[in-house]
Every structure is written in structure tokens, then in C-alpha cells.
Symmetry: D2
Subunit: 360 residues, 4 copies
């Protein structure tokens, strides 16, 4: 039995475990004041090409989103996000629990017209500059907007929850709209490594650091046991951010656990290497899926693929391969997600091929 259920089914990259073991009995101060955190921050600053960046290591993505968003918003503000954005749907109301509304942009209409199937696929789950601008204009033109939640920042994930990607010009267009309205732009990089190494990506970490006001580099899904590095690239962290982190229960006593991991991830390009591996595996996965005649619900340029299967075929597949249920478009069919990761092996892909071809 192999698993393509998600990119967090295995532990950590062996180099990470090794470093944890090596450093294990060295006494270090708590709460992120250890030398590994310091070293990891330096390496991230270098990788992002922003020497003034302020960096905080948090444990998980929902936590990072809640802490960052609530620290940037004023009480009367909400965060603008795609309808399908993680913060709007799959974080159990973590943003609202901090008192703020998620201002959901309706699902993108880009490419809704006939014959634009490709554009539609590429748009899935994304915020679009033109639509964002329309939303913001509409807000300020509304005679009653003082009775409404003010847009206070813009959230997006890259890659998105559907594995889709922003191009640099798209992101710059969004950033320009944000600047026009004075809104910080925040990138949720839970799977950032897989985005950066996609064959369709035209952005580097330093592009992201230049364009965004804050972002996090996802560790949990890209080779770490846990951990996300929140980066304020212009040294623009909110005042007393550490206290805010603590208040949200997001400050690890043994901060070294995060420092050591990110230090390993940003040593000798490991983070990008892991991203590259997952992308290579994803390209092979797509080939297998095409070869086996599978129908793509969404063929993404990153590590997540969504396919439509007849239920009978799915049943057979699941004897050998764990996949992630996505939705049920009709009786008789199911959409499932298959994800590769830093840890996917060729052997696992082979099992999948055989399971699909029925030779298993």
C-alpha cells in the first residue's frame, strides 16, 4: 500500500533528523533564542535576498495565518481572500475566532467563457488583480461602507489549494492594487517549495520577498516534521510580534526544534531540492495518469493533481494506493486528489501505474 493522499504522510527529510540528533544534548535557550534559529534566519535572509527581513518560526499553517492576519488587521478590518482560500474554508474559523471577517472574493469568472477551459483551470483558486480591484472599488463606492467590514489586507496561497500557480506579472498586478489601497499582501506558502520549483514558475524566493509584505515558507509539507517560517521581508513585523505569537499559543518553548529544521532546510539548497524532487515525481505522475487514460479534473503545474474516476475504478485503485477524496460530482464518479512530496519514490509511482492499469 502506497499513499498519494497528501504531502504530509511521512516524517522529515533524513538530514533534518540527523541534525536534531546531533544537536540534541546541547543546552540552548528557549523560545527561539537559540543559535540554530539565528543561523536559520540568516540563511533564509540570504535565500530571500532581503538582509533586513524579520523572521519568526511557527509550528503550523493555520496558526501562522491566524497570528499574521490578526496582528496586521485593525479591529474594523477583515482579510480579503479567494472564496476557496484555506483561511475561508478549512481552518475551522481560526480567523473569525480572532474577531475578523474573511472577505471572500467570489470564485473567479476569468475564463468562464466557452473555449477558455485552459484559462479557467489556471485561474482555479486564485485571486485576480482585476477582480480584486473591482471588489475594492465597489466597497468604497458603497454608500454604506462605514457599516461594513473594511478590507484590511489580502491573503492568497501560492501554490493555491488547487495546486495552481501565480505568474510574476499576475502577482505584481495584485501587489499594485494592494498598494493603491494601502493593503498588505500576504502569501501563504504552505507548499511554497513546490510552487518555486514548478516548471511553470517564473518566480524565485527573492521575487516573492520583493513583491509581498509578508509570507511564510512552509516546512511541514516540504520535508520538516513541523514548522513554518514567517518572513517580514522589509523588517516590517508588527511591534511586539513575539508577544502576539505567545498569546496565540504559537511560541515553542524548545524553539530549537524549528531552528534546527529550517537551518537544515536552508543549508545547501535542501528546501529547493525537495521541491524539485516532488515536482519531478508529479510530472511522472501526470504522465502515468495520462497514459492510463485518466480524466483530469484539474491538472496542476505543482504537486497536486485532481482526477475524475469511475467509482468502480477508484475501488480497485484503493486496494493499493491511498488517495484523497475531493468531491462527488455525480453518482458513479469521484474526484480524488493525488499528491507527490519530497518523499515520493519511483517505486510508489510504479505501484500506482500498476494499480491503474490493472496489472497489479
Amino acid at each position: 500500500m502506497v499513499s498519494f493522499e497528501s504531502d504530509y504522510t511521512k516524517g522529515a527529510h533524513p538530514k533534518i533528523l540527523q541534525r536534531l540528533a546531533e544537536s540534541n544534548l546541547v543546552p540552548m535557550p528557549g523560545y527561539g533564542l537559540d543559535p540554530y534559529c539565528e543561523s536559520a534566519k540568516e540563511k533564509i535572509r540570504a535565500a530571500c535576498n532581503c538582509p533586513e527581513a524579520e523572521i519568526y518560526f511557527l509550528v503550523g499553517g493555520t496558526q501562522a495565518n491566524a497570528v499574521v492576519i490578526s496582528s496586521l488587521l485593525r479591529g474594523y478590518e477583515g482579510v480579503v481572500a479567494a472564496q476557496t482560500g484555506h483561511v475561508n474554508v478549512h481552518e475551522a474559523g481560526a480567523i473569525e475566532a480572532t474577531g475578523h471577517k474573511v472577505l471572500a472574493l467570489p470564485e473567479s469568472q476569468m475564463g468562464q467563457d466557452a473555449g477558455e477551459q485552459v484559462l479557467l483551470q489556471k485561474s482555479k483558486g486564485k485571486v485576480h488583480a482585476r477582480e480584486l480591484e473591482g471588489f475594492l472599488q465597489g466597497f468604497y463606492q458603497d454608500a454604506n461602507h462605514e457599516h461594513m467590514v473594511f478590507p484590511g489586507m489580502v491573503y492568497f496561497s501560492h501554490p493555491t489549494e488547487y495546486g495552481t500557480l501565480y505568474q510574476k506579472d499576475e502577482l505584481e498586478a495584485i501587489a499594485e492594487v494592494c498598494r493603491g489601497y494601502g493593503l498588505p499582501l500576504y502569501l501563504d506558502g504552505a507548499r511554497l517549495g513546490y510552487g518555486l520549483m514548478s516548471r511553470e514558475s517564473d518566480m524565485s524566493l527573492s521575487d516573492i520577498a520583493r513583491i509581498c509584505d509578508v509570507f511564510y515558507i512552509g516546512g511541514t509539507k516540504v520535508g520538516a516534521l513541523c514548522g513554518e517560517a514567517v518572513v517580514f521581508p522589509k523588517g516590517n513585523a508588527p511591534k511586539h510580534f513575539l508577544t502576539t505569537v505567545k498569546q496565540h499559543g504559537a511560541l515553542l518553548a524548545k524553539g530549537r526544534l524549528l531552528g534546527v529544521q529550517f537551518d537544515a532546510l536552508f543549508t545547501e539548497n535542501l528546501y529547493l531540492e525537495l521541491g524539485r524532487h516532488a515536482i519531478e515525481m508529479a510530472e511522472q505522475l501526470k504522465e502515468i495518469l495520462r497514459e492510463q487514460g485518466c480524466t483530469f479534473y484539474l491538472e496542476s503545474p505543482t504537486n497536486q493533481q485532481f482526477i475524475l474516476l469511475e467509482d468502480s475504478k477508484l475501488e480497485k485503485l484503493e486496494k493499493h494506493v491511498a488517495a484523497s477524496f475531493w468531491e462527488k460530482p455525480d453518482e458513479g464518479h469521484t474526484i480524488v486528489r493525488l499528491a507527490t512530496s519530497w518523499a515520493t519514490s519511483k517505486e510508489e509511482l510504479e505501484v500506482l501505474r500498476e494499480a491503474l492499469s490493472g496489472t497489479h
Copy 2:
């Protein structure tokens, strides 16, 4: 340089690291649904002698406190705690951030009279049944209590922030008061292992599970990299507690990280062994301190000791030993905390002895 600064200066017990390495590449479901979490829960249920316990693994103590407390309180209720309780002082307002007041009991008056120095020391940082009852009676007698925050549960830490301990009869008296007022009793066990193995302890895990409505078994400070096991011993977890955990950003995607660690800690009594070791080291520490003529500000039966030092002596000490600043009672003196842990070695104690005696 050795460190007695805290009980979280080193990584994890080697058996934990070993298990993480062994299980590392086995694919497992996320969010705590893996077999290690299941196994760890079973072992904890056995250790607590409560087969119906519901158990959740969270990452840290502040997080555990905020999640448990906010899930148990109604909107109009607050949590009763000692003035010096962790939730009242050192969690950056994490409880208030969930909308609830900490109802701080004034520092205990037990043993305030002359000649009761010992009782006073033993009372430090604790909630006392009689004083708790007085507070609750006073609340309900107050003609304006409907304009006040209702006491909704009682929080205490065991051992306390000062290393002091509850005796079984003390805790049963508190629990009886709580039952009388319908208040759940919650034990913060960040250092529970060190409390259970104290020579003055007359309680086992199963006593605690019997007396309290909810408690957490601290991993971070007792040998784990991170992690606290929240136990609802009577199967009395609030409905949809997992969703509440998620909402607070406290649900680890790779829940295995916690499952593997607690499985190791509750295999062959490791958790209690680690507690015992720290206590033995603490007893030797106290002997050294006495032998070196140190003045105890608070000599505790657990792993934390508080001593009063002349600043000149402290300065010398700090050349070889890291200690934790506690407070400055006057010009010329400082109170510092020295903590042992599961990882304290005899060699480290020897360094401390030499540093104090000036033979270093």
C-alpha cells in the same frame, strides 16, 4: 558552561529520537489519526487507569490552556486561578484573547502568621480549598454578581510555577468545592512528571485522573521535543473538540510527531523514569546549595529551586552556570531559579558545586 536555567534547554530523550527515526518513512494519515497516536492514547489510558479517557495531543502548554479553558467556559464565565498562575501572568493574555477573564485569587494568606514560614513556603503559588470556597461564596452573595464574570472552572498547575506540590487531600478538598459549585477542575501538568515523582508526592496519575475533570500531561518539559497530552478522564471532552483544536491553530498536520513521542514516553514507564531522574538530581542540587551555604528563597520538593544570592556571587556563578533570573528583592541581591530536568547530569551538578565554592 552548564545550564540550570530551565527544564527545556535540551532536546528530547534519545529513545524518542530513535523512534522518530525508525518510523520516519512510514506513510501515516495526518491530524492525529495515525497508529502511534492511537497507541500512545491506549498507553496513557492504562497509565491513568481510565479506559474511557479521551486524549488529544497538543503542541504546547499555553496552547493547551487556551484551548481547554475556552472550550469549557460559556461566554459569561471566567477561569479561577491563583494570582501567580501561569495563565494569569505568563501567557501574554492568551485566555483573555479567547474572550474570558482570569479570576485571580489573591495570593494565599495560608501561613502568613509569624512562625509559619514552612507552611507559607508550601502554600506558595497554590489554590487553597478554603480560600477558593470563600471566593465563590462571596461571588454569589454579591448583590451585583449578575454584572460580574461568573466563575466557570478552576485552573491550577501541579507542580506550581514555584515548584510547590498539592497533597492528595488538598486536591480532593478543592475538587469537592468545585463539585459544590458545578465547576470543572483543570490541572496544568506542564511539569507533571516532576510532581508525580517528588518524594513528597502522595498522588499517582490515576489519582489525578480520578480527582480532576481535565488535565494535561506535559511532554515539552519532561523529555519530549514538544507536546502535551490533554486528558478528559471520564470521556468528557467537549463536543467537536478536534475542531476547536484546529480553530486555535493547535492541530498538527503531522500528528505522528506527537504520537510517536508520547508512545515512547509511555512505553516501559519512561515518563516516570525521566521524572524520577530530575527529582534525584534536584535532591542533589539542594544538598549542594545547602552545603555551599546558599539561602533558599523557596526550597521546593520538585525540580525547581529558588535561591537568594549576593550579586557578586551571582556574577561569579554565571561564568560557569546559566541560571534563570527571578526577581531583584533589593540592591545587592538577586533571586535566581535553578531547575533540573530529565537530562541533568552529575557532571553538571559538579560544575555547579565548583562554581559556587569558588574552586572552579
Copy 3:
């Protein structure tokens, strides 16, 4: 200059002012414990035909919504409402400020098909049983629903923000869905008087009290200076609701101000009389609009009408009549709202007619 801007442009019905004056110097206890509050509650219980109702007087609608909703939801729950519902759009995030998400049902698709213009109009702004059920089913079928905000209650306004009305069978169908999922049903009755007296209404106050779990009877927009009566018809108010009211800053020290007003409103049927008057005026208003060839954007059976005007015509109108800007569908046209109220006079209607006909 006359105003049809809203139903809260004038003060209070003279009988209310008179009672305030009469009772002014009688000393009474504060916080709603005065005899007028008691008497008003008795009269409302009678009018609702529910002798066990628990009733609380709050000052305004946003406040009532936030207090009721946050007191009924558990931390992991949100309130289901129409996309266009007041709590979702025009209360500045008051619900989210209490930590809860508004789960917005997409705008109704009922009557979207060609030729169903009438049904579409009647559906505007409403929750529909079938769509609600679809939403709830979808939620529980979602494999990830434990990572999502649970639906915890259903909110709707009657009349809606568009002046549309529920029929008794529609409401009973919604209530049945709610019961099936264990969700309290909450009616926002900011304009309830105008709904009850609409010619299309087939519900009485006692129907509403029977069908809903909680509702409020709007005073501010139906003849009072301020005030909304929150009714828990089955004596089902959340425990210590008064303390919750106080906590939200919604407990008036001089509760008599609300008691006296509602006592007046529920004496000799005044509340319904005021409703009837506004409806009569609205019927005449609609006649004038039709007679003057106005295009209805939405012709409602209650006191709010929405018309589409050429901007040039609007400009002329606004020299004599204040209307409320609604939206701008295109260059050259504007949708405005015209509202009648308990205080609208025939003379004011006449001014409107002349302004529209250009004879002014």
C-alpha cells in the same frame, strides 16, 4: 423636503413620548427590573400567545443580533445566513467580532430560470428550505468538515433587507430542516411590524413564536426611539443571558426607557396599528410609482420599494424628496430605496407624486 430615505427618520409615536413624560419622575429600579418592563413583557407574552416566553429589551438591532447569536453558538459554530443578510453585510463584522463566522448561503437560485421573474423577486434576500438543506447535507458529507466551521444556528430577517416576506409554509419548512439538524432558528424582526401587516402576510406573532426558537420584535423602525424586544418563546433563554447582555454593553441602566416604550407599543395593539399604517402608505406609494411610470427594481409587499431611475429624473426628485441610494447598475441609472413608516403622511406621498410628475 420630505424623506422616504428610511423608516427611522422620525422620533417616536406620540403615545410613547407621552408615557415617557408621565412616568418620568417615578423612581424605579434599573437594568430592566422596573414595573414597565414587567408589564411590557406580560403584554408581549400575550400578543405572542406564549406565556412562558423570556423577554429581554435591548437597544438596537446589531446589538441584539450579536448578543443572541454569540450566546447560542458554541465556539466551533457559525451562523447560517443569506449572503445578503444584515449580519453578513451591514453590521461591520459584529458577529465575527464575537469570534464566529457567518456561513453565507449563496444568493438564492430559486426562480433563476427564464419566465420566473416573479418568483425571483419574491425570493430576493431569503433563505430557502431546500437550499438550506442542500448546504447542511453538503457540510456533513464533506470529508473535511471537522476542519470547517459547524453550522450552529440559522438567521433570517423577516421582512428581509429587500422587503420580501416569508409565507408560513416556507418558514415551517425551514424550521423543519433546522430541527433535523438541531439548529435553533432565529428571526431578526427589525421591521417585523411591517411584515406582520403586509397584505401578503399569512403569519401572526403567535405563528412566529411557535415556529422560531428566538426572535426580536423591532421597535426602532416601528415607532420607538430605540429598542428591540428579544423573545425566547419557550422560556429557552441561554443561562445567565442578562450577564451576556451586560457583557456586550447592551444592558441599559435606565431600562425603563425600553420598558415604557414597549409597554406603549403593546397597549391597544399600537404596534400592529403602526405596521398597518406603514403598509397602507406603501401601497399608495406603489400606486404612485406605477402611475408615474417608474420601473420597479423590486416591488415588495412591505414598506420598502426599490426603483430604477434615470439619473436626470433622480436629480429632479431629490430636490423635494430624500431617497436612499441603493446601487448603480450602469451609467445613467440609479436604484433607490423608498421606505414608508409608521410616521409617513399622505401629504408626504403627495409631495412625492408631484416631484415625480414634475408638477412641483
Copy 4:
């Protein structure tokens, strides 16, 4: 039966009711945009001698406190207040419900020494500059202060909950401490009129406007039906404060109700006249109490007096006079509060005298 229970047992000053009646049928825009609000603001600016003041009318005191405090604090900050401050004790956790801790200063030690009974009385319920400074210094010296709630502003009530008063130099000393730490100073003026007109007061409204960063002028307890005027004297209201007010359910649709009342209160000095009257009545009350041999628990220079009565005497008193239970110091005695107000009459005082002397 007469009542000295509180200063909110009667309705409104007749001039206020008269204005409400006169303006009743004039249509006006809602939400505080009416000409009465505008006029009232102008008059208050003049009375405070601060032409740039931004002023908002809210309905009640708890609401005003929660809105002002939560709008001024950052997420990691709390509000410093006296242990006995209204926000800390009698507002049902309204501040904590917005996510912020009340940092309670222990009850003042000023005048604790023998022979300083008078100073002790004058200090009751107050914040003292020296003690405040000590608290703030201690906070920043604490090595762990980043894990604690930062002091973000200072709250005090004037007069206090015990009727005590600040002198101008006391307040200036507090303000200086605040400036030193960058903390806004906020005055809760629920009974401000009674403070300003106390014989011991050496401050005018313009002194208060000069010294404080924000304050509210209490209407509810000083002659209005409801309403408090929040004043930001230097035009320093937080951005989009109106939206914050709306979010807290504190924005009255018929804002005119507040505008008309404050316009009346600030016409021809009515507000201060009402204050003066209550103070005169309080002075006569104190004379009667002394004459009748009552023991003062706290004899205040404003409108509230606290006396210690034998229970038997209290029982007789309560046949004719309603008083407010304060506390029960021992079996056999009770402390009660007697309050005068803008509406207290000589006849009522006479009833009290007779009730105390037993001639009734």
C-alpha cells in the same frame, strides 16, 4: 417611599423630554448625522475648550468603555485600572470579551499607615501616579515581560466608584507617567457632572480635556435617559471609529435621541446645573447622616455616600427609603450606599431624615 439607591432611578430632566417632543416629527438622517448631534458636538467642544475634539455619542457606559478601550489597544496590550475599577469588576468581562486583559493595580496602599484615615478615604478606588509608575517600571524590568500582557493605556473613573475625586495635580502626575510610557489616559466620566461640581473639585471640563487623551461625559446618570459623549479632545479618534462603534452594536439608528439630549444638556449650562444640584443635595444628605449619628464607611465629596448601619436600623429605614446594599462587614451590620442625583428633592431628604430619626 423614596429612593436613594442610585442616580439612575428617575427618567430625564424635563428640558430633555421637552426637546425630544419638539423635534419628534422632523425627519433627520440616522446614525448620528442629524443636526442635533452636530449642534451638541459644537457645544461640547466649546464647553471643553477644544475646537478640534472629535465626539461620538454612545448609549451606555459599559459600551463606551469596551468600544474606546478595544479601539485604542493593540492585540498584545491590556488596560491598566484600579482593582476596584468598573471595567475590572462590574462590567461582566466586557473588556476581556474584546480580547484584552484588565491589568488591575492592587488596591492603593496610600494612607495605609495608622493615623492616615483621611488620606486612606480620599485614596479609595483611585489610581495613584507613584503606584502606577512602580507597576510600569516593574513590568519593563521583568525579564519575562515579553510573555506578559503589555500595558497599553490607563483607565480611571472620575469620580470613582466610591465617589472619591482626583485633584488636578494628581491627574497631571498620572498623565505625566502615561506620557513617559506612551500610554493614552482615559477617563470614565459616568458621573462626571457630579465630580466637576463637587466642592472639592479644582478641575473644569477644559482641564480634563487638556489632561486626558480620551474621556466620556456621562449622560445616563446626570439627567439623560441614556447616552454618553465620548470625547477625543485632540481630534485623535482612532481611524474609522464609527465602524468600530457599529461593530460593537453601539451605533444608534436614531442617533437624534442622543443628539437632542446632549444638545439640551449643554445648552445654558444645564449639565453643570444638574451636577450642582446633586452636590447640594449630597451635602444636605451628609449633614442629615451626621446629625442622625450615622457612621460613615466612606464620606465622599460627590453624590455617593457609604454608611455603616446596624441591621435593625437598616430594616426600619428601608420601610421608607430605598438604599443600595454595598457589603456586609459583619453579622449585625451592613454598609449601604445612598446617592443623590440631578432629581433628588428636599422632600426626599426630609423623608430620609425622618426615617433615620424614627419620627416617621
